[in-house]
């Protein structure tokens, strides 16, 4: 499939359904999240995005791992998979490879995506399938009651597990995504639903692996993140298509700048995907030919 095909797939979907509202993409399952959790903002922005893009719910699948944010699929009225810890991306990869016409979105938290699932993050960036990956980053493991995650500051001492802080440097999601070859890197803020909706729409429409880091405050274990509302700011340079520029931008960045940081159109993952067969054999004839290779 080419980038053009992906664009036209979105167009086809838009044309095929009556307009749906954001609430039509919500399920009736009540979220387990704490009052004031940033993830509510992400859920709202995602349903608005799906409505804005007029994606038929049956053509959308949202796949997650384990953690507070990974509860997201159950709260949506699209196809969903709530899998095991850290493996949202491989599950999404298999689904997209098998069903390339679907819009597949992987979602989860910073522990799920950058720690236990860190290897998959690297390789999903490299693979450049047409997937969207939303990481709701609150710099803490919330579901297990407040342990340090890969994006936690090394001197954060409020976890009983690491009372002296982790002492290890923070995982740099955007820089690592860039180094691993992601073709779309953006940062949004759960408290900015309109800006986040624009970013998610661009990510879904981007033909390739689109990584969106969403700063999503944890009111319960990281109450100081309520200050993000005042601290976030637009990225100073705006999006760039130049990898070297993006590297410099991301390195100088304070981690609180919002917007599309990097986008590049590169070939979509196609290895192992069947090319149109040159012959006009039926599937049964092709299987018979394979059988015959071993029979003589």
């Amino acid at each position: 499939m080419t980038a053009g095909d992906a664009d036209s797939a979105v167009q086809r979907h838009k044309a095929s359904i009556p307009s749906l509202k954001a609430k039509d993409y919500k399920s009736d399952v009540k979220p387990v999240w704490c009052p004031g959790c940033g993830h509510f903002g992400v859920l709202a922005a995602l349903t608005k995005t799906l409505a804005h893009l007029a994606l038929p719910p049956e053509r959308v699948a949202v796949v997650s791992g384990i953690g507070c944010s990974s509860r997201l699929p159950a709260y949506l009225a699209v196809h969903g998979f709530h899998g095991v810890h850290g493996r949202a991306l491989p599950l999404a990869t298999g689904l997209k490879a098998a069903r390339p016409e679907l819009t597949v979105i992987a979602a989860g938290g910073d522990g799920d995506g950058f720690s236990i699932g860190g290897n998959h993050f690297l390789h999903a960036c490299r693979r450049n399938q047409d997937l969207t990956y939303i990481v709701m980053d609150n710099e803490v493991y919330g579901m297990t009651k407040g342990q340090a995650s890969p994006t936690t500051q090394p001197d954060w001492c409020r976890s009983k597990l690491t009372p002296h802080g982790t002492g290890i440097r923070r995982f740099q999601p955007a820089a690592i995504a860039l180094a691993a070859g992601a073709s779309f890197i953006a940062r949004g803020f759960a408290g900015d639903p309109n800006g986040l909706t624009r970013l998610l729409a661009a990510a879904i429409e981007h033909p390739g692996f689109a990584f969106v880091q969403v700063l999503s405050p944890c009111r319960t274990f990281r109450p100081e993140q309520q200050a993000w509302k005042q601290q976030v700011h637009a990225s100073e340079l705006g999006p760039t298509h130049d990898t070297a520029q993006a590297a410099e931008l991301i390195q100088r960045d304070d981690g609180l700048s919002l917007g599309l940081l990097y986008e590049q159109r590169i070939p979509l993952y196609a290895a192992g995907v069947a090319a149109d067969a040159a012959d006009d054999l039926t599937a049964a004839e092709r299987l018979a030919a394979i059988e015959a290779e071993h029979c003589r």
């Binding site: 796949v63 196809h79 899998g83 095991v84 490879a97 098998a98 290895a271 192992g272 069947a274």
Partner: protein
């Protein structure tokens, strides 16, 4: 036991040599010649862990009847050289009846060969090859060994043409010249078999190894997505599948690790596309959490475990049946799933296809046990017929609202796939209610646990749960699994020829265990459980399931050496006649 000159008894011919000597190529040509002569054959390979340059052995057993296992001894050894021969000494049992062809240019035979009291014939493989332009010693050995084993010269020449076709006509011509030379070097009085008359027509047979057969079974059943992480000795299945899946419009994706590959299968199957992967012990361990997710989310996936020596990295290039416990008990929680074992090389196709079908009928994970001795051994034999139709998911009906995990009479719930309007649900590894919403309520947990167990236990598996030979009123029943079946059946045949009534039951379906069917099959016979591992894993599983009669015994021996029919027959005879005597 029939003597070596009995033309109906299978003959074992080994070719050994240092890396690059072409021992394996010689074995492949001999196997093709066996086919061209209208015979059946089994070619096992033994290689060390070296990437290149290690010594290797090709072990061919052939005869007029299908061959399913290694023999007790080696009739003919063609040693291209003696490099590291001691590593093969156990795998190539020589005795006074054996004949060894040795090239004097490579030095004297090792002490173990001399001490085995075997007949030695010096044969100038390398000097004869040197007389031919492009000649190679291994092809001289093919000619000599083929002649002594009774393979017609025409079959050997034909086989060289087929096997070496990719290398160009000059290579084929040189090989054929060397085969003629070798054939002429063999003395008629040394023949182990008189030349086989050429068959009126060469019968259509499978030329296949177990990894290829397993891949073919997957394609037959409709698998169109494979996630792959390389591992010995399963990689060949994945490599065989890659281009062929593509031809069928499917996809093979190389994953970053086995944690990824198993979850990719779940993604594909959730999307409605049948998915499979192949791995070995270490990879299976990494996949277990994902297999549990497939069980809990009721997503059909198939994992083929081509077993090797374990634990840990173990003996990657050699066979063992020591992953039974991992396959049966490795999942956390109460996680009923399917465990099957292929009973032979061709049966890899049938068992894998059946596993795919069962996984989709029952919406669960299936682990198929193969092993190195099946996966990497090549046979000329009868094809496994395609009996399993391609699979589909059980679509929801029109009766009432769609509830993905509804508790049904047979335990199988309706399943939708993305793209089907109005049937969206969230699959979940969390315990859930019938609609799929996460639930920690006791009633939901009990209902879903019951349903996931019930759907496996209530299913009618038909007669394929085991292969059974021998009379129902046998005095002894040999119960086995997987690749051991070949040697067990041959042992039983020998015992029967000696007047002992022996039945064999080879389990293809390990979980859920058809306990009553097994007890019925065993009847009143004493039982010897035969398996290739150190811990008697099958024996203990059957004991725990109360599927064995009193006084059952185990013959459990670890790899890497194959269980041989002779040792099984001896153990069986000892059990039947504890005071001595032989079959």
């Amino acid at each position: 036991m029939p003597g070596p000159r009995d033309a109906s008894a299978p003959l074992t011919v080994a070719v050994t040599g240092a890396g690059g000597s072409g021992a394996v190529t010689a074995g492949l040509i001999l196997l093709e010649a066996v086919a061209a002569a209208g015979l059946y054959g089994l070619l096992r390979r033994s290689a060390g862990p070296q990437i290149r340059g290690g010594e290797s052995a090709a072990l061919l057993r052939f005869g007029p009847e299908p061959v399913h296992c290694a023999g007790d001894r080696c009739d003919l050894l063609a040693a291209l050289d003696w490099a590291n021969h001691e590593r093969f000494a156990d795998e190539i049992p020589l005795d006074a009846g054996s004949l060894v062809l040795a090239d004097p240019a490579t030095g004297p035979p090792p002490a173990a060969v001399v001490e085995s009291d075997t007949r030695l014939r010096e044969m100038g493989f390398s000097s004869s090859a040197a007389e031919r332009d492009g000649g190679r010693a291994n092809m001289v050995a093919v000619g000599a060994a083929g002649a002594l084993a009774g393979l017609p010269l025409a079959a050997l020449l034909d086989a060289a043409g087929r096997t070496l076709a990719d290398k160009g006509q000059a290579v084929v011509d040189a090989a054929r010249a060397c085969i003629r030379s070798g054939h002429a070097l063999a003395k008629p009085e040394d023949r182990l078999r008189e030349p086989v008359p050429p068959p009126p027509a060469v019968p259509q047979r499978w030329h296949i190894n177990g990894n290829e057969a397993a891949g073919l079974g997957a394609l037959r059943a409709g698998v169109r997505f494979v996630a792959a992480y390389p591992i010995t000795p399963a990689s060949e299945m994945l490599e065989w599948l890659a281009p062929r899946l593509e031809r069928l419009g499917g996809t093979l994706l190389q994953a970053e690790d086995e944690l990824a590959s198993v979850n990719m299968l779940i993604g594909s199957a959730f999307g409605g596309v049948p998915a499979l992967t192949a791995t070995s012990g270490p990879g299976l361990s990494l996949m277990l959490e994902g297999i549990g997710l497939a069980v809990a989310s009721e997503t059909p996936i198939v994992v083929v475990d081509v077993m090797r020596g374990g634990p840990s990295t173990g003996i990657p290039t050699k066979s063992e049946q020591s992953d039974l416990n991992a396959a049966l008990y490795g999942l956390h929680g109460d996680a009923p799933h399917l465990v099957l074992a292929a009973l032979g090389i061709a049966d890899c196709a049938h068992t894998v296809a059946w596993a795919v079908q069962l996984a989709w009928q029952l919406q669960t994970a299936a682990i198929v046990l193969s092993d190195q001795s099946l996966g990497q051994s090549r046979m000329v034999g009868e094809p496994a017929p395609a009996t399993v139709p391609p699979v589909h998911h059980a679509a929801p009906g029109d009766d009432g609202p769609f509830r993905r995990y509804s508790v049904t009479e047979d335990g199988v719930s309706p399943m939708s796939v993305p793209g089907e309007t109005g049937l969206a649900y969230t699959a979940d590894g969390l315990e859930h209610d019938p609609a799929g919403a996460p639930s920690s309520r006791a009633a939901d947990h009990a209902a879903q646990l019951d349903k996931r167990r019930h759907k496996l236990l209530a299913h009618d598996y038909g007669p394929d749960w085991a292969e059974i030979t021998g009379a129902a009123d046998a005095e002894l029943c040999l119960v086995t699994v997987g690749a051991c079946r070949g040697a067990v059946v041959e042992a039983a045949e020998r015992l029967s020829e000696a007047g002992r009534a022996v039945r064999t039951v080879a389990l293809r379906l390990l979980a859920p265990l058809k306990r009553q069917a097994l007890l019925d099959a065993v009847g009143g016979a004493r039982v010897l459980v035969v398996e290739q591992n150190h811990g008697a894993q099958l024996f203990h599983y059957l004991l725990a399931e109360q599927a064995l009669p009193e006084a059952a015994r185990a013959l459990a021996r670890p790899g890497p050496l194959p269980l041989r029919p002779g040792e099984i027959a001896a153990a069986a005879a000892a059990l039947m006649d504890p005071d001595g005597g032989s079959p």
